[in-house]
């Protein structure tokens, strides 16, 4: 097995015999296989694939791709074929294309630069009229883990989230998670998309978007409120995998939003809508009303119940755990039958279900008692299944059924699987301690088993008997004697140790035998296991205290042996015991108490189920199975003591959960849930944070302006901006704004209001202790700068903040835009000074076009400088990142590693701005900027220079 692993990583160009090649190819391989067989090394084999990929014949290409996929499937490295494969990404043949997709997703991460070549194909496919093509383009685009395309992905996701086809929207929901794992900083934007998709009414989308929700923002419970009832109602029609995810999420949701139904005075009747007030004893904080189940809580329980009949075991388990965690105690038992039904499924399913039943059965014996026989062990069960069944049987044991269970256990003890027999003995021990009536019967049975031929069985018996005797040692001296006799034959260390401990502990009951046993073990002391040695020491010490006349010399002898033992635990113990029991002048205080220390009566051990504390985990989860917190596990919260506002789930009233205190321009309109969808969306775009607005409308804008063709750049197409962490600038300080603090940043998104404007996002925070009202933009200047104002904020709560977006047409100059920010009472003059890089929109073009355009923008329009570049930016990525962080430019593919090219247009006039960085030797680089706007060009050059020369 390990040889496989070795060969896996070193596969690269290693010599792989050509014979294997024939086997690797698929059976459909026709003529080409024979030809390929002629080549003798791996290198040449791939050469041959390359030739096939570059040929004109579709069938040859397909054949090659099939063989490449075969290589990938085997875990062999086929990355060097990347350039040849990626060329076929635009193929018309769907199967070929799909295989290329498979390849791309596998290797794009390793070959990021080349992977970028394929991006434009996907962008085109995203607009294809065929929904399958749109969806698969988005799937592949989002699966290519290349950080540089994050903004393109973002844009594509936003667009797909509003696609007409639910299938494409589903794919968008999947893409959200992919983008999030690639770049967690996109979280806020993704949450907006999730919020939008949560409102989707298609059953196809529901499961996927909830999955995205769970992965990206599981704590944003507030997003669920409005969709809660819809999700409950759609649930039955959602595809089975989605059901699992939604049910798990709703379980968490319900635990935060509803009151506990587990109260004494609770009313559960589904139809008793009217509360009846009877004498109420329990006084909890605020409410003294008897418990009434929230109708929404009931809705969830009612709508999940039919899913217990699902053929999908995961769905059944999900419903079962939902009932376990949410339903009133007396309703939980309806899941029992379904869970027992799952035990007829595959072995692995049984394993998980039995684990969950084991946890449940500790708390609720009654649920599974009628199904006791379903947990009987069969000789053909797998070991882990047997153990779990045994566990459950033990949990279910009561005075009434114990005789049946014990009879069953008797057959298990005789099992050929000795490990299982030993586990059964432990189970008997647990039954015996739990049910005091049968302790004696069990003990007798176990004593009989001591004469078993198998040592593991006997050893286990001894250990269990030891534990049982501790609970009632008085009348069992004969058993102790019997066990003392066994010492000669038993070799299992744990069992020997147990016997020695027993004799030591009850040495006064067997005064004749004990010294003899000590004599025997003293003889074999040196060859015993450590744990036996320790118990020998204990026995010696105890006997020395009770019967020193007979055992003094023996104890001395054993203590001497222990003093020179190899194990330091034993040496320590020896030293300790000697000081304690052998009186000498130095040991004063403690040795008086030696007898009380060593012969103190010890509490009997409690035999507990291994599943005792498993209920701290949500049932059905991986964490529960492992009994350890798995990464990404979401705690199930405790029931709230005071019921949260129920009205948040009313779809008509649009308000956030009060606890979050998030302000929002609210307009209460009484629409019914069913027809609110569309309007809601539009409204939100206008009123809520501006970035969400860019999702659909902006992208249309963008594509129209791209194809609309400004004269200067017919050859280029607009590109979505590369993501850089937004730099926030202060607009108004809290002190000068009388509590209102405002900061702004450039989100680098196409402005929704006008294509000549730069979009700016303002974040307003109220630092006062009173709400601010009617915040709006007042007078603006200077002339030549146009401002699109944000909608008036009616109210901003204390400590709350809100983000709004506005558009400013700077007219391609770095002149500041001044305007007034007004509240109901005050006016503040503020100004936004744009960085030159924010006045640009990224574009992309081919290398040839770039060179052509650059050729036209020489002389006056070109400015250049040679700079010393920071050593860490000599590779391609840092240069790109640095340029992009300063200026909103698009990356132009370059055939040379040392040259980086970037292109953009000015936002206002659409003039082309080109920039190139030519890395030279000795960490110098030549920086060139070409643009008609010479002022802008020189400012940009200066900024790029500072950025690139920094370390």
């Amino acid at each position: 097995m390990s040889t496989n692993n070795l060969s896996y990583n070193e596969q690269g160009g290693g010599a792989e015999p050509a014979v294997e090649l024939g086997q690797e190819s698929t059976p459909t391989a026709s003529g080409s296989t024979a030809a390929a067989g002629l080549f003798s090394t791996d290198f040449k084999k791939n050469e041959d694939l390359k030739e096939m990929l570059e040929s004109n014949k579709e069938s040859l290409k397909l054949e090659a791709m099939k063989r490449i996929v075969g290589l990938i499937a085997k875990g062999k490295n086929a990355s060097e074929l990347f350039p040849a494969v990626v060329k076929n990404v635009a193929s018309k043949n769907i199967e070929l294309k799909k295989l290329v997709y498979v390849y791309l997703v596998r290797y794009a991460e390793e070959q990021q630069d080349l992977a970028l070549l394929s991006i434009s194909t996907f962008q085109r496919a995203l607009k294809d009229p065929n929904q399958l093509i749109r969806a698969s383009a988005l799937r592949v685009l989002s699966s290519i883990r290349v950080p540089i395309i994050v903004p393109i992905m973002m844009l594509a996701i936003k667009e797909a989230a509003t696609d007409l086809s639910p299938y494409v929207r589903k794919t968008a929901a999947h893409a959200i998670q992919k983008l999030y794992s690639l770049d967690p900083e996109q979280k806020e934007h993704l949450i907006e998309v999730i919020d939008k998709l949560l409102k989707d009414k298609s059953t196809l989308v529901a499961g996927s978007v909830v999955m995205a929700f769970e992965e990206v923002c599981p704590d944003r419970i507030d997003l669920i409120h409005k969709n809660y009832r819809k999700l409950c109602n759609l649930l039955v029609d959602v595809e089975e995998w989605g059901q699992v995810v939604i049910i798990t999420m709703l379980t968490r949701y319900a635990r935060t939003q509803f009151l506990s139904p587990w109260r004494e005075d609770a009313l559960f009747d589904e139809n008793s809508e009217k509360a009846f007030y009877d004498s109420d004893v329990e006084k909890e904080k605020a409410d003294s009303k008897p418990y009434m189940m929230d109708p929404d809580h009931r809705l969830l329980l009612r709508n999940t119940k039919p899913l217990l009949q699902s053929r999908n075991t995961a769905v059944v388990m999900a419903v079962a755990q939902l009932y376990w965690h949410l339903a009133p105690k007396q309703e939980v038992s309806i899941v029992t039958k379904s869970l027992v039904r799952l035990l007829r499924s595959h072995r692995e399913v049984q394993y998980i279900v039995l684990q969950n039943i084991a946890t449940m059965s500790i708390q609720r014996k009654g649920m599974f008692e009628p199904f006791l026989k379903s947990f009987y062990v069969r000789s053909t069960d797998a070991t882990h299944i047997k153990t779990l069944k045994l566990e459950i049987l033990t949990n279910l044991a009561t005075e009434a059924n114990i005789s049946t269970i014990l009879r069953e256990f008797q057959t298990y003890v005789k099992s050929q699987d000795k490990q299982f027999a030993a586990t059964t003995i432990q189970a008997i021990g647990r039954c015996a301690t739990n049910i005091s009536e049968i302790t004696d019967t069990c003990l007798n049975g176990l004593v009989l088993l001591l004469s078993n031929r198998d040592e593991t069985v006997v050893a286990e018996c001894v250990v269990v008997i030891k534990k049982l005797l501790q609970t009632q040692p008085s009348q069992h001296s004969d058993i102790i004697k019997h066990m003392a006799k066994l010492l000669d034959n038993i070799t299992v260390p744990m069992a020997r140790a147990s016997i020695l401990w027993l004799i030591g502990e009850y040495c006064e009951r067997v005064p004749k035998i004990a010294p003899d046993v000590l004599r025997k073990v003293a003889k074999s002391f040196t060859s015993e296991e450590d744990i036996v040695k320790l118990q020998t020491l204990n026995l010696a010490a105890k006997l020395y205290l009770t019967n020193s006349k007979q055992t003094k010399l023996l104890t001395q002898y054993i203590l001497n042996l222990g003093k020179y033992d190899q194990n330091y635990d034993i040496r320590d113990r020896t030293r300790f015991l000697r000081q304690l029991i052998v009186p000498n002048e130095k040991s004063g205080a403690l040795s008086k108490y030696a007898k009380r220390i060593l012969l103190a009566s010890k509490p009997a051990p409690v035999l507990e189920s291994a599943f005792k504390d498993r209920d701290r985990f949500q049932l059905g989860t991986l964490s529960h199975t492992l009994n350890a917190k798995a990464s990404g596990y979401l705690e199930l919260s405790d029931w709230p003591t005071v019921a949260p506002d129920q009205s948040v789930r009313n779809v008509e009233v649009k308000e956030w959960a009060p606890s979050l205190g998030k302000p929002k321009a609210t307009k209460s309109d009484d629409k019914f849930y069913s027809d609110s969808g569309e309007e809601e969306e539009q409204e939100e775009e206008a009123s809520e944070s501006g970035s969400s607005g860019s999702s659909s409308s902006s992208s249309e804008e963008e594509s129209s302006s791209g194809s609309g063709g400004r004269t200067s750049c017919r050859l280029c197409c607009l590109l979505s901006p590369v993501f850089v962490p937004p730099k926030s600038h202060e607009l108004l300080h809290r002190m000068s704004g009388k509590g209102l603090a405002v900061s702004y940043h450039f989100p680098r998104q196409p402005c929704a209001y006008s294509h000549r404007m730069v979009s700016v996002q303002l974040t307003l925070t109220n630092g006062r202790d009173q709400p601010l009202e009617d915040i709006c933009v007042g007078e603006a200047g200077p002339p030549g700068i146009a401002i699109h104002r944000f909608a008036t904020i009616e109210r901003l709560q204390p400590e709350a903040s809100i983000t709004v977006s506005m558009g400013i047409d700077f007219n391609d100059s770095t002149q500041a835009a001044n305007f007034q920010l007004c509240t109901k009472t005050d006016q503040f003059s503020v100004s936004i000074q744009p960085a030159v890089g924010e006045l640009l929109m990224p574009v992309t073009m081919t290398e040839q076009d770039f060179l052509k355009e650059q050729g036209q923008l020489t002389g006056m329009n070109e400015s250049s400088v040679t700079i010393t570049i920071a050593p860490d930016s000599m590779s391609s990525q840092p240069v790109g990142r640095k340029v992009v962080s300063v200026a909103n430019m698009g990356v132009v593919p370059s055939s040379q590693n040392s040259i980086h090219r970037f292109a953009a247009k000015t936002v206002s006039s659409g003039s082309l701005v080109l920039s190139s960085v030519v890395l030279q030797e000795a960490s110098t680089a030549k920086l060139v900027v070409n643009t008609e706007k010479t002022v802008l060009g020189s400012v940009l050059l200066r900024e790029l220079k500072t950025a690139l020369s920094q370390g």
């Binding site: 459909t28 000789s379 989860t621």
Partner: protein, 419 residues
């Protein structure tokens, strides 16, 4: 959710890997191999294994480990159920799910896996949808592909089922012979003790359907005695509300083979055990030998013949060989796996099959203290042991007259006799 999938043969050879997120080295399977080393049989490998950075959830079937690698919390059953669905899809596509068939069809396997999961979340798992996107291999198509140089195996449009409310059925199905067959298959799970008394017995049943009907038929299947059914689970096509209200199965069926429902028969009804078994297996204290004597006969068969009776015994390890004679069928003892198989065939009233002879034990070894359990396999045609009967099948929505058929079979499930 599911990060990567590895298919591993029992011998520990990783013959397929697929990653839905970034690549995970196949060395992660070493943890599985370690667990396999500890377990006495592949069945005993725990389905969930935690490793320092990942969790392995595996299912073992058809001598293949399907190992899913996951990184974050996920309901384990979700993964297990999905892996079984993958195996079933392979079975459906290639006729068998084996290392050889997967290796032979690696491209189709890859295309399937690509469609079944997106970013580790199930996308399309319905056989009907998958078959529209990726055509199963047939001899005819592979011949045509070889001659013409390959027409595409992959559909270019989104399967209609994917968008509809009935994703399990494709539109435009056409047959010349419209037929619908239903197989009611019941299994008896039982444990009998030494003396032949029933320790535990229950009946599980399934209704498997093979429906080849044109258009969009809407079927209703009703039973004579639906009260027998205690606990049921349905294919998603069955309308649960109708079942709740009227106890009839109303559904628009998928095209082809599918499992319509599985059920459990009410526990109050006593289970009729169709056979009796008399056995005497004993090992002598001295002389390292033993004796075996098994007799099987029919009992409570409601006039039907019991067929395909096979008795399997897992002998203790010390049994070296068996020297047995029988008056019906054949018996074989495999000294390596210690399994005795007695293939009896039909049981008839006149002659009672019997197997007896001696067992030779390893000399010097202690006498095994447990007698082996007998596992019994049998089949009764034309009988549902619970007495369940289909009343009628009606079709709405289409005009033609379909050919309908219902078949009943009773089999032994986990039928064990303790000795």
């Amino acid at each position: 959710m599911i990060h990567s999938l590895f298919l591993v043969s029992t011998a520990g050879h990783i013959f397929l890997e697929k990653h839905w997120k970034s690549v995970i080295s196949r060395s992660v399977c070493d943890y599985l191999f370690e667990a396999q080393g500890k377990a006495s049989a592949p069945e005993n490998v725990p389905p969930v294994i935690a490793t320092p950075h990942h969790y392995l959830i595996s299912v073992y079937r058809d001598r293949i480990f399907f190992v899913a690698v996951i990184q974050t919390e996920v309901p384990p059953l979700f993964v297990i159920e999905f892996l079984h669905r993958v195996a079933e899809t392979f079975q459906d596509y290639f006729g068998e799910c084996s290392e050889a068939s997967i290796k032979d069809n690696v491209v189709i396997v890859y295309e399937l896996l690509e469609e079944m999961l997106d970013n580790g979340f199930p996308l399309a798992t319905e056989a009907n949808i998958l078959k529209e996107m990726i055509k199963p291999p047939t001899i005819l198509r592979s011949v045509v592909n070889t001659i013409t140089g390959g027409s595409s195996n992959v559909g270019g449009t989104l399967p209609t089922g994917q968008l509809s409310n009935i994703p399990w059925r494709r539109t435009g199905v056409k047959y010349t012979n419209n037929e619908a067959y239903f197989d009611v298959v019941e299994e008896i799970d039982a444990i009998l003790d030494k003396s032949g008394t029933v320790v535990f017995a229950e009946i599980q049943g399934v209704i498997d359907a093979c429906v080849k009907l044109s258009g969009m038929p809407d079927l209703t299947l009703s039973f004579v005695n639906p009260r027998l059914l205690d606990d049921v689970s349905f294919h998603p096509c069955v309308r649960f509300k109708r079942w709740e209200a009227e106890r009839v199965l109303s559904f628009i069926p998928p095209d082809g083979n599918f499992r319509l429902m599985s059920y459990h028969v009410n526990a109050q009804n006593l289970v009729a055990i169709p056979v009796y078994v008399k056995q005497n297996v004993s090992f002598f204290e001295t002389g390292s030998s033993g004796r075996l004597d098994i007799t099987v006969g029919p009992k409570q068969t409601m006039g039907k013949t019991i067929e395909d009776v096979v008795i399997t015994v897992h002998m203790p390890k010390v049994v070296l060989n068996a020297n047995l004679t029988t008056n019906q069928g054949t018996s074989t003892y495999d000294p390596v796996t210690k399994v005795l198989v007695w293939d009896i065939g039909k049981l008839n009233q006149q002659k009672v099959p019997n197997l007896k002879g001696s067992l030779s034990l390893q000399s010097g070894a202690p006498r095994p203290d447990e007698n082996p359990t007998l596992n019994i396999d049998l089949r009764i045609q034309q009988l549902a042991i619970s007495g369940l009967k289909v009343n009628r099948l009606n079709m709405f929505g289409e005009k033609y007259k379909p050919f309908k058929g219902v078949k009943y079979v009773t089999k032994a499930g986990k039928f064990q006799v303790r000795t």
